[in-house]
Structure formats: C-alpha cells, structure tokens
Subunit: 439 residues, 2 copies
C-alpha cells in the first residue's frame, strides 16, 4: 500500500496559506483517517515577494504551475489561483496529466465548467470543488451523496458572506448601504472593488454549481437573472420587519412541473424562518428534497480556515480513492451519470409568479396612488396592501406597495410605466417575496 | 459494466415502506445518478399479517432474513428491523457473506458496534448507517468526509424529535410534561411506551455514533451520563426565557486538552443561538471543527420519508462503489484508519465544570435561603443569582439559583445535602447551562 500521497498547490494566497497550515496542524487527524501521509511537494506562485501572513518555506516555492502539473510524482493538484486567464487550462491540463484535482474556483467552474468536467469524464480523472460553494459547509457533498436519493425540489442559498454581512448590519440600523459597505471594507469583509460580491456575481457562480449538483442541469450563466444589494435602503429593512419579513440575498433554484428556475436577488423571507436567523458573514443553504423534506446546512462561507477545511477534506477523499486503488471514477463531477433526468426546461424569471414589494418615492400630492394603482390594475397586478411610511424628503414621501401573486413580466412592464410618471421621484425598487419557507 | 445492483431488505415496518416507495418514485433520479438500476429482490419480515399503509407485492415477501443473507445474487442488505435480539448477528452474517450493508439501527450499533465494525474491517465489506443519527440529515457523512480535515472540537446535537417536540410545546406554554406527552402520543410523535425517547436513551445511542465518527473514539455506553426530560416543569421554561435561555435536550461531546467528555441531558442554551430556533420534531447537529469553525446540520430527524432518504442515499453510495469495482474499503466504518488519533481520555461528568440552574420548592419561611446558600458555599459553589418566582403551592414557593462555574461533583454532593433539608419540599432539579454557543 502506498503510504504517501503527493500534492502540488497552485497559488499561494490566503486560502492556500490556510491549506498549508491545516496540513501541518492537523497532521495527526489526517494520517489516522487515511492511514497515510499527505505530502506537499511544491507550491507555484508568480509572486513570492508579496507579504504574506504565513510565509512558505523557500524549498517548496516554484514559479510555474506546470512544474507541478507535469511532475509525474504528484497525485493531487490543488488550484487556488482565482478567476484569472489560463486557470481553466491549468485545471484541464492537470486532469489530462492524470492528476486528481481540487479547486475552490467558483468563477472558473461557472464559466468553463462544461469543458473542465468533460475532460474529467473523458480522462477518468476526478475533480472535487466543495470549497467553491459555502466555504467550509459540506453542501456539495450532501447533494452528491447524502441527499442523492431525492428529487431536489428547492434550493435557497445565502452564499455570499459579504452581502449577508452588509444586509444584517443594515437590518440592525447601522447605516445606509454606502456607510455599511465602507465599514465592511475597513474590517476586511468586503473587497476594495466589491462588485463581484455586492452585484450578486459571486452568488450567481455558486448557484450554477448548486444547480448542477442538485438537479443535474448545466445552466447557461447568461440566462440567469441576477440582482445585487446596492440599491437597498434602510427603509426597506424597516418595512420588511414591520411586515414580518427579513431581507436576504438569495441564490434560488426550484423545480416544478417539468421546469427549473434559477435566479439571484434580494428576497423578503419570513422572519421566523431559519434562513432569516443567518447573520453576518455566515452562509446557509436550504435544500428541500421530495423524501428528506427541508434541510439546512450552515457555517462560515469564506475565510482562510473554513475554506481550507473544505479543500483538504476534498484532498483526503481523493487520497482515499487513490489509496484504495480507485484513481478514476465513473460518475461525472456533477454526481450524475446521465444529466437532467427529469428533462427539466429552464423557465426565465419573466414567466414566474410571486408576490412583490414595490418601494417608491413619490410627490406628496393628491391622485398619486390612483395613478400608480391604475397602472398596476391595467397589468392585472392586484394590491394586497399599501404602506405609507414616515420619512419625507423634500417634496417626496415613501410609498410601499405589496402585491398579491403577480407575473414577473407584468410587474416589470408596470414598473417601467410607473417610473415614467412625473410624480415618481426615483425608479421604483422591486423586491421579490418568498411567502412560504417550510420549516 | 454491471447494470443492476440487487438489494435485499430485512424488516417491513414504516421506514422500510418508505424505502420501497422511494425506490419506485425516484427511479429516474437513482438511475441517472448511478447509470444502473437498483433492484429490490426480496423483503423478509416475520409478520405479513400486520396492516401496513403501503402493503408489499406478494412476490417479494419472505419470512426469513437468511433467505436474503444467504442469497449469493444479492449485493446490498438493508436492515430495518430495530432493536431486537438476533439483529446484530444478522448484520455480522451479512458482512461475512460479502454483502454491503445499510442499517438505521442506532441501538444495535451503539451496543454491538464494536463487533459489527470489526467484522466489516476483517471481511472488507462496507457498512453505512447515515439514517441512524438525525434521520435524513447527512451529518455522519459530513463527519466522515466533508469535515474530515478537522479536529472536531464540539458536537451539540438535538437528535431526538420526540423530546424536542415535547420541549418546544412546553416552551410555548401548552401544558406540563404529562399533558404534552399525552398529546404527542395522540399525534404519533411519541410512542405508547415513550421511555427510550424521553429518558434520553435514543439520544445516547446516537451520541455514541457521533463520537465514533467525529472523534474516532469508541465510548462505552455505560460510562456516559444520561438524563431525560420527564422532570422538567413549565416553571423551568419560563425562568429560562426570562434569563435569555432556551431549554433543549442535547447530546454533547467535546474534546479539550486531551480529554473527551460526552453526555445527554436537558441544557440551557442561549436564546439567540441557532440550536434554540430548532423546534418541534426537527433535529439539528452543531459541529465545531478547528478549521471549519461552527457548522449546523438541520432537518427532519425521523419519519418514514426522511429516514428512507438517508437509507437509499447510503445504498446508492455503496452501489457506486460496487459498480466501479470497489467492493471493499480500507477505511473503517468510523472513517478512521487508526482510531483515537489524539489519544483522548474520557472525562466523566463529575469532573466537568459549568454553571448550573437549580430549581427548588421550599417552605416559605425565614432562613431557608441562608441554609441552602450555606451548603453551596461549603462546597465552593458560588451563586450568580437567586430568582424567587411567583407560584406558591400550599406552603411552598419556587426558588431558582444560578451558579457560577462549579464542579459537577460538588454540585451533586451539595444537592444531596440540600435535598435532605426539611424545608426543601421536593428534590432539587439541576439543569446544566451552556453559556456560550459560538455562532
């Protein structure tokens, strides 16, 4: 029996430093679980001058990823470079070179997953990517193994810690979006260029991966509706609370009647649901299967240590396979041998029906509500309640309208008309409502 | 490639009926995930006269488990008999016959696991038992795979749905223990003979399994402190809420400084912790690892369908192994190749330190508190607060004392002395407090 599994690591950023620390600090656990050692052979990075919290010993430093990929000694390649040109090729070349591969790279998987996964299937090499969604939370494994007997019916994920931090700070009244974002940047919870997080791009990447593993469906990332959190205001949070809701940025994927829908947007969810209790940088993924019912997976969705936990757990599972002589796998990375078993068709957001929250700033004059409700009525959108809140700003006052079930397409059209009214001071903010979230 | 994996099912109770239904209803998902069929060859049960919600077709009915165990055609045996004599032998004989085995039998695993698992290791046959803890929640897999790179530091589990239902009903003031139990029995959430649930025996069995998979430690079930919920009163729930706590029956296992402790008892936990939000028959297992940090796994802990989800997911993972030519495994059922890597020593509850809640009924006369606090002081237990609640019953009044950190052994001694006081009307109820539960 092989007593050592050799690892090459590409990229030496924050998570990679966590991986190297974990391999050292938890050596005993790893060895006792594997009956073998994991040996780090080398780490490739283009820039060894950059300051790091945990510098790497010089003997392990390499400058070129292909020194690892082309090294026949190496069994497992860990890729922790991030969303850069050439990284998809590194993954593909590693698989072609017969390596087992671990990556945390949601962006590259969401964009180039099809090609990468096809290479894995063709070469028989395995690729694991637990760290790409939910950081340390083993939710991808749950979809691939622990819940695999189910038809998955719903996935609702709080999968971006930066957004959830900003949202829960606003919920607690700490300030408007811009101030809270600044504080998050100061604390290191948001990047200097926060776009990928706050515009929901990161959540979208993760959603694509969740859909693949949950439903066996490869979605075109460009078809999926995405909306970030940057135009939420304190007013929305206060109104949500008054109505018994909380606001969360959700990655949503549901199947029903032969259709699958998938989208990322701020969502009003019942205040008494478990997802509503998920605060700060934590992540949680709610998964409902037709036999298991509702489940929830909760933990730290980012950070050096939780992400390293997922990466090394992947490495260990691949090492177990190698050690028991099972290098290749006959299942695809998605966990599906034949994808899309129920032949689900994608339903674009325009065709969905749900209740809506519309927040408007309007001139405080007679007849405004009549105009707005007239437009809604013409689009067959019926109003459940109208809330006029305090908070006059100059001539204008806030107006919140909650609708009954309405067709997204109609809401979009109605809102475009409403925004053209002269009495409407700024574009309406539309927030989708999830009324039921089964315990 | 083999296109069919053959299954034999022992026992045809509620869960087994769920398994048979799942195999039919989710046939498409199963086949598309495996690239093969699961074929149920036969079901053995001693009593086919009993009425069942989902009767089995006659052609599959057998009377003797050994017709399956000795059938060379069968690849996987599912055991769903329950805690009866001879069942451990059936599991052992199945493994010896070269079958892969799936069981939900926490009682048999907790009591005879050592022998069963040794047989698995010796024969190279695999045994999976996800359904034995947390019903449909894939927490055992998380410990064995998704979190396997961690040193597990804490496990806190709400693992008995019957108890959690009774507790959360009492929390909502629906009645004292006996009335709520009766209602739970009427609704089918508690058995006619509820002892195994309400006395914490079921939770204890599950704890033994969690400890094995989390820490790689086989604990003697007789060494573990166990206390049920039958002497909790509404007074305790109200006082807990006033103090910012909730009451839950927890299965606890922690490691620290080379020691492991494990116990089952009602526990006061912070009201703002996620575990405190787990209500009704739901289960949740909080796991903290040294890299992943705190995680939580939530879902339905019992019932026909969630349990069937776990059983068939196990079957599918074993089938994947068989289909890829990997019948046997070199890892033990615990997920550890060498158990107890950190050489943890068991620390009995008497040696633990924590804060305590003491509920007393005392005569309403001068000097009572002086006597009680004198005894506590003599045992070096310092008082954090004394709460005198309304609710006189005859001559006696309720008195609640919250202590600072105290040694369990000292508390037990002090309480024995206190109970001997003539002014103390009924034995003190001691409830242990978990002050910190990291998010």
């Amino acid at each position: 029996m092989k007593k050592e599994v050799k690892i090459g690591l590409i990229g030496y950023g924050t998570i990679a430093q966590g991986v190297v620390r974990l391999l050292k600090e938890n050596k005993k656990e790893i060895q006792s679980r594997l009956g073998a050692q994991l040996k780090l052979v080398g780490v490739a990075d283009k820039d060894w001058k950059r300051k790091r919290k945990y510098p790497l010993e010089k003997s392990l430093r390499l400058n070129d990823a292909y020194q690892l990929i082309n090294n026949p000694e190496i069994d497992i390649i860990i890729e922790l470079v991030g969303d850069f040109p050439g990284v998809a090729e590194m993954l593909i070349d590693s698989l072609k070179a017969g390596k087992s591969v671990v990556t945390a790279n949601k962006a590259v998987l969401a964009k180039y997953g099809k090609k990468i996964f096809q290479t894995a299937v063709r070469t028989g090499s395995q690729i694991f990517f637990e760290a790409s969604v939910g950081g340390g939370i083993p939710v991808l494994r749950a979809l691939r193994t622990g819940l695999c007997a189910n038809q998955i019916q719903e996935i609702y994920g709080i999968v971006n810690g930066t957004c959830n931090y900003i949202i829960t700070e606003m919920e607690q009244g700490r300030g408007e979006y811009k101030d809270v974002l600044k504080e998050a940047q100061r604390l290191g919870y948001a990047e200097a260029d926060p776009g990928a997080d706050v515009e929901g791009i990161d959540a979208l990447h993760k959603l694509v991966i969740l859909v693949l593993l949950g439903y066996g469906v490869s979605l075109d990332i460009n078809k999926i509706y995405r909306e970030g959190i940057s135009d939420l205001s304190l007013l929305d949070f206060r109104t949500a609370q008054d109505l018994g809701y909380r606001l969360r940025l959700l990655a949503i994927a549901r199947q029903e009647n032969g259709f699958i829908d998938a989208r990322v947007h701020p969502t009003l969810i019942p205040a008494n649901s478990l997802l509503a209790k998920v605060e700060g940088v934590y992540n949680a993924i709610y998964v409902r299967g037709n036999f298991v019912g509702p489940t929830l997976f909760y933990g730290q969705g980012a950070g050096m240590e939780p992400t390293a936990s997922a990466v090394v757990s992947d490495v260990m599972e691949l090492a177990r396979n190698l050690l028991s002589g099972k290098k290749s796998s006959r299942i695809k990375p998605s966990g599906y041998y034949q994808e899309n078993p129920r032949q689900l068709k994608f339903k674009p957001i325009e065709e969905l029906k749900m209740p809506y929250y519309l927040r408007l700033w309007v001139l405080d004059q007679p007849g405004v509500l009549a105009k707005i409700s007239g437009i809604l009525a013409r689009h067959k959108i019926s109003i459940r309640s109208v809330i006029q809140r305090e908070g006059r700003e100059g001539d204008s006052v806030p107006l919140v309208i909650i609708t009954h079930l309405a067709l997204e397409k109609s809401v979009q059209k109605a809102v475009r008309e409403i925004n053209r009214l002269k009495v409407v001071i700024q574009p309406a903010k539309v927030i989708r409502i999830l009324t039921e979230l089964e315990k």
